[in-house]
């Protein structure tokens, strides 16, 4: 346990620089985006009011009030989210491969630690999870910040103030990151975590058997997906609507647990018996 925490800390610090850059980009871009979008709205509004000499009501009728929703639709807002997601997706592979292909072969050290090797796997997965949650938290903190920027820039008559919830519910993609209840939050990220574990196992297949391992890894991935969607497939095609929602939910939980256990068991086996430097 102790060594596992040390490993997580170690892995965490290894990625910290890039991670801080990601956070920096997110903060800068989203604040900038709020300023730019608000500014653009002000320009458009000024144009209507002072160039086209519309009444305030007519201008509002045409342009509408601005809300944080409009800011979330800009590339300034979504761009950094996409960058963070893509970076973490790449990092999911990088976190393993750099130990083999880095300048120094750190994998020797990792595999020779006097602790169960599966701890290395858990530590890497935990690190990814920690990083994801960290970014999610930052994003959550950035919402009121961006909203405040909007409030500073736009007079109250021209804007609609949204609560954080309203901002989230008005934008589908954000609902994936921040579902409305804690249960769903747990479900979303549990699925995400399961995906990470399955990808890790596939990577370990590749690292154990190289070219052949890619095939094994893909098969394993397909197998995991099949198990996971099996209840839904049964529900949709084999026994249409046979299960009640709560049952389907329970089955999905079981399927998810099966996938996760299978991944961990397989990875443990590969790390113990098949991995090579």
């Amino acid at each position: 346990m102790n060594r596992y925490i040390k490993l997580v800390n170690f892995e965490f610090n290894r990625f910290l620089k890039i991670y801080l850059v990601l956070i920096g980009i997110t903060i800068a871009s989203q604040i900038l985006g709020a300023i730019i979008r608000s500014n653009q709205y002000l320009n458009d509004m000024n144009d209507l009011l002072y160039e086209q000499l519309m009444t305030r009501e007519a201008a509002l009728e045409q342009l509408g009030k601005i809300s944080f929703y409009h800011i979330t639709q800009t590339v300034w807002f979504m761009g950094p989210i996409a960058i963070c997601i893509v970076t973490l997706l790449i990092y999911m592979f990088f976190i393993w491969y750099r130990d083999w292909f880095g300048k120094n072969t750190f994998i020797y050290r990792l595999l020779m630690l006097p602790t169960a090797r599966i701890n290395v796997y858990f530590a890497k997965a935990t690190t990814i999870l920690l990083m994801v949650f960290g970014l999610v938290a930052i994003q959550l903190l950035m919402l009121p910040v961006g909203r405040r920027v909007l409030q500073w820039m736009i007079p109250v008559d021209f804007r609609v103030d949204q609560t954080i919830r309203e901002i989230l519910t008005s934008f589908d993609y954000l609902m994936i990151l921040f579902p409305s209840t804690f249960y769903e939050f747990v479900i979303h990220y549990a699925i995400g975590f399961a995906v990470v574990l399955v990808v890790f196992t596939a990577i370990l297949f590749e690292r154990s058997f190289r070219w052949k391992g890619i095939v094994f890894g893909l098969i394993f991935g397909a197998f995991a997906v099949t198990i996971f969607i099996f209840p839904v497939i049964v529900q949709a095609f084999i026994l249409p609507e046979f299960f009640y929602p709560i049952e389907l939910f329970a089955l999905e939980c079981i399927a998810g647990l099966v996938v996760v256990s299978l991944s961990i068991w397989t990875s443990n086996y590969l790390l113990k018996k098949k991995i090579r430097v």
Partner: protein
């Protein structure tokens, strides 16, 4: 005692080890010599479970390797196993974090013996100093067995001498050492035992002193005999 019993290993279709057996005693320096092939490193990797074997058995003091074994046996590969961005002190801290058998005092001693500056980053070290740090990380562990893969390869002569000195020092006193090399000259007087490998087989396993005493042959003589026949 490390016992390697009939170990076979294939990479793809190529059989690298075709049934290798030998033993290495605690308190002795055993040298794996092979003139070609990857067999030596593969054996080393196999002993510390960094590569799976296809058949055979490897025992360390009578038991198969498990996670706790890494407090008892360590492997110093031919390249350093720490991250380039780490300073020497970070690498030492890492070892201290993860190994109960890490001996800080000994590490400091080796550090001054090798005249290394522990604030230096691994990436900035010379080749010779990198090898020394690599050695330091293994030697400062209170382990029973140390495996070294080609500790002398590609290093300047002075570093080589310093490293050779380690072998006669208390740093490896009473431990079992397995070392691989393709150049026996530097260490001929330092080793207890030679295992001659070729193409996946053990051609001959002998004690250096015995072969000198009984047959009046040097290690090179034996190698010449064995490899040329």
């Amino acid at each position: 005692m490390i016992e390697v019993k009939d170990v076979k290993k294939r990479f793809g279709r190529k059989e690298v080890l075709k049934g290798v057996s030998f033993t290495a005693e605690k308190g002795e320096i055993t040298c794996l010599i092979g003139i070609n092939g990857v067999g030596k490193t593969t054996i080393m990797n196999a002993i510390v479970a960094l590569t799976p074997i296809n058949s055979g058995q490897i025992l360390i003091d009578g038991e198969e390797l498990h996670k706790g074994s890494y407090e008892k046996i360590t492997f110093i590969p031919d390249a350093i196993t720490m991250l380039p961005q780490m300073r020497i002190i970070d690498a030492m801290q890492f070892m201290d974090d993860f190994y109960d058998c890490w001996n800080e005092k000994r590490a400091e001693e080796i550090l001054s013996f090798f005249k290394l500056d522990k604030q230096e980053r691994i990436a900035n070290l010379s080749k010779g100093n990198t090898a020394k740090v690599n050695l330091l990380l293994g030697l400062a562990m209170d382990v029973d067995y140390i495996l070294m893969d080609e500790p002398f390869s590609g290093i300047d002569i002075f570093s080589r001498e310093q490293i050779a000195e380690v072998f006669t020092s208390h740093l490896i006193e009473d431990r079992g050492v397995i070392i691989t090399t393709h150049e026996i000259n530097d260490i001929e007087h330092l080793i207890d035992k030679v295992v001659l490998l070729n193409e996946g087989y053990v051609l001959k396993e002998f004690s250096t002193e015995e072969i000198r005493e009984n047959e009046g042959k040097s290690v090179i003589d034996v190698m010449r005999e064995v490899y040329q026949s």
